[in-house]
Amino acid sequence: MLRELTLILVFGTISGGILSLLALGFTLIYGVSRILNLAHGSLYMIGAYMLYVFTSIFVPIFTSFLGSSFPNLDLVAAIFAALAAIGFTGGVGAILYIATIHPIIGDEIATMVSTVTSALIIQQIILIIFGSTFYPASIPIQGSSLILGVTVGNKALVALSASLILFGFVALFVNKSKIGKAMKALSQDREAAMLMGVNTTKLFLLAMAISAMLAATAGILEVTALTGTAAAWMWLHPLASSFAIVILGGLGSIKGSLIGSFIIAYSETVVKILVGGAITPVVPLVVMMVILLIRSKGLFGKRVEMED
């Protein structure tokens, strides 16, 4: 029993940390621009695939420049590949915003339809380019360490700390910097913010790019720490979990998304370890529904304003 408990604690924490990045991106774009971005899972998937693509581009280049005797050449190449993949996905997010969301901004249902169709388009493009097989994508960090009597790979620990640091950094950016304050102002009252000279389109674009980059980072860390492969159907489950987290914590609340992601991750891990994998996808949804019925705005959410 104790062993199960420690397993739940350790693996729940790791997956909670990664999920928090995913949910942060989702809640950021909703909070700033009221866009329910159903293509968020696809951006996560693009991150994982691009890690594979850029790694296979960078490894030969780095070998030819530095020589094959350079220490940790794979690791260096993979880290650069990860950075390139994150940047690429940010660009994809910006293009998605300009092409599919900007023309219909303000119409909630139309935004849902257009983002879900973009998710399908991205899935089909990836199927056409890569096919339906699994691709190995991972940052090669060696070794493992013993935590609470459980052997955990070092890459999972690196992923956890990286995600927590990045989360703190983005939260600081939103709360302290001038652009972040403008984003907050937009989320509180769009018209007043516009009167104060906030350029909404520019900020929405920026928020979308940041949210896409966060999703890509979550995807890269997930394949590095937990699964190790990228597949064309990996976007649906993270999308459902980020829904659940964000609803649980309250749409648009950063603190809520951190706490919500840990609640979801622990409950998922409990079910996965004690019951079995088949019903795991339902767990976040059930948790979310129960919480919503008890408290309709999530744990930390503000009132959802109706159309004004």
């Binding site: 219909i104 973009s118 399908l120 089909q124 493009i125 056409i128 459902a240 749409l251 919503l292 309709s296």
Partner: protein
């Protein structure tokens, strides 16, 4: 005596139809649908086409019921597949396990559908907007897992339930006649439900629905019991969604777990965007556009187009189909957010108005024009 009744009835019918151009258009569409089986009789794949058209009729009922809930009342539901699946599963379980005839199973399924709708509608008293959308989305996903992985004796797991040919609605007919009969049955039910939905939407209750969509707080301030009307719209919508599910069970003769998937919930949304939100006739037109695109264009013409372009790979072809289809949906949503059907009817109404104004005299016409500018 009888003759005079007939002539009077006929003349009032003609007056009713020709009064408003969009009514005439609807009548012409109905005539076309009635004559369609005769038109496609010459093709060898005739039963297959009939089955596609039957499926389109069923989907049209489903989409119209979604439109009443979302387009009229503004309760965003992303989980309408729940009703579809509940209808199909209930009617088929009762039919295959307990050997009950359709006139028992279908009312029972409808009753269950309304109960489920009220059960789901209850959270809507607390939850609003995007929260409601996400809550409704979860129910079919939970049902999907239940149906797939529990109680294999009742739900038959991944395979789903098939209705044996003997228990189908018209087992005594030859296949082509049977398909034709099924087509006409589904068309009749589509027509009746569309009329009922349209009448509800344009009745006093429908006006209350629109007021809730426009401004919930103000409607409450006007003394409207908002919760009651929201539950009512859920119940009506659930009733017709379940009816579509029952028809799927009896006419397509299968109920399987994928009926609960998110893609099924998104079909009415896409189709309603094709046709026009909040119109009831929009989703029906949209469903036909969707069915033609999905079945005829992609199964018949698209491979030929690709062959001319020099592509013959079979797996990539399947992927390309969904890609092009999603692109078309995206372009329609971005370009005509008010829908295709509404575009046509708006044009027609404008023309009619212009004609009336012309008849009434140049003065009003001029005023209308300057006002319009």
């Amino acid at each position: 005596m009888i003759k005079s009744y007939i002539t009077r009835g006929f003349s009032s019918f003609v007056a009713y139809v020709f009064d408003v151009p969009s009514r005439l258009l609807a009548f012409l569409c109905l005539l076309l649908l009635l004559l369609l089986p005769l038109v496609i009789k010459g093709y060898t794949a005739h039963p297959y086409y009939l089955r596609i058209l039957t499926g389109a009729n069923i989907l049209a009922i489903f989409a119209a019921s979604w439109d009443l809930l979302v387009g009229r009342t503004g309760q965003i539901s992303l989980g309408h597949a729940l009703f579809y699946g509940v209808g199909a599963y209930t009617s088929l379980i009762l039919a295959t396990r307990y050997n009950l005839p359709p006139w028992v199973t279908i009312p029972f399924a409808l009753l269950l559908g309304v109960l489920v709708a009220l059960l789901i509608g209850l959270p809507c008293t607390r939850v609003k907007g995007p929260y409601l959308a996400l809550v409704t989305m979860t129910f079919p996903l939970i049902m999907y897992t239940i149906v797939r992985s529990s109680l294999p004796k009742i739900f038959h797991g991944e395979l789903g339930i098939r209705l044996p040919f003997k228990k189908a609605l018209f087992p005594f007919l030859h296949i082509i006649q049977q398909r034709t009969a099924e087509y006409y049955l589904s068309l009749a039910i589509l027509f009746i439900s569309a009329v009922i939905l349209y009448k509800v939407a344009s009745s006093k209750t429908g006006i209350v629905f629109i007021s809730i969509l426009d401004d919930e707080v103000s409607s409450k301030a006007c003394g409207i019991n908002v919760t009651k009307y929201k539950l009512l719209s859920f119940a009506i919508s659930g009733l017709f969604g379940t009816l579509a599910g029952c028809l799927q069970g009896y006419l397509i003769r299968i109920a399987s777990p994928p009926m609960f998937l998110l893609t099924v919930s998104f079909i009415p949304i896409v189709v309603t965007y094709f046709g026009g939100m909040g119109t009831i006739y929009g989703p029906i037109v949209g469903t036909y556009v969707y069915a033609m695109l999905d079945n005829f264009f992609f199964d018949v013409y698209f491979p030929q187009l690709l062959k001319w372009g020099g592509i013959e790979a079979s797996t990539v072809l399947g992927y390309l189909e969904l890609l092009v289809f999603s692109l078309i949906v995206l372009i329609i949503v971005l370009k005509w957010p008010r829908g295709i059907a509404r575009l046509v009817t708006d044009k027609l109404e404008d023309l009619a108005e212009a004609r009336d104004l012309d008849e009434r005299g140049p003065r009003i016409w001029k005023r209308y024009k300057t006002k319009g500018q």
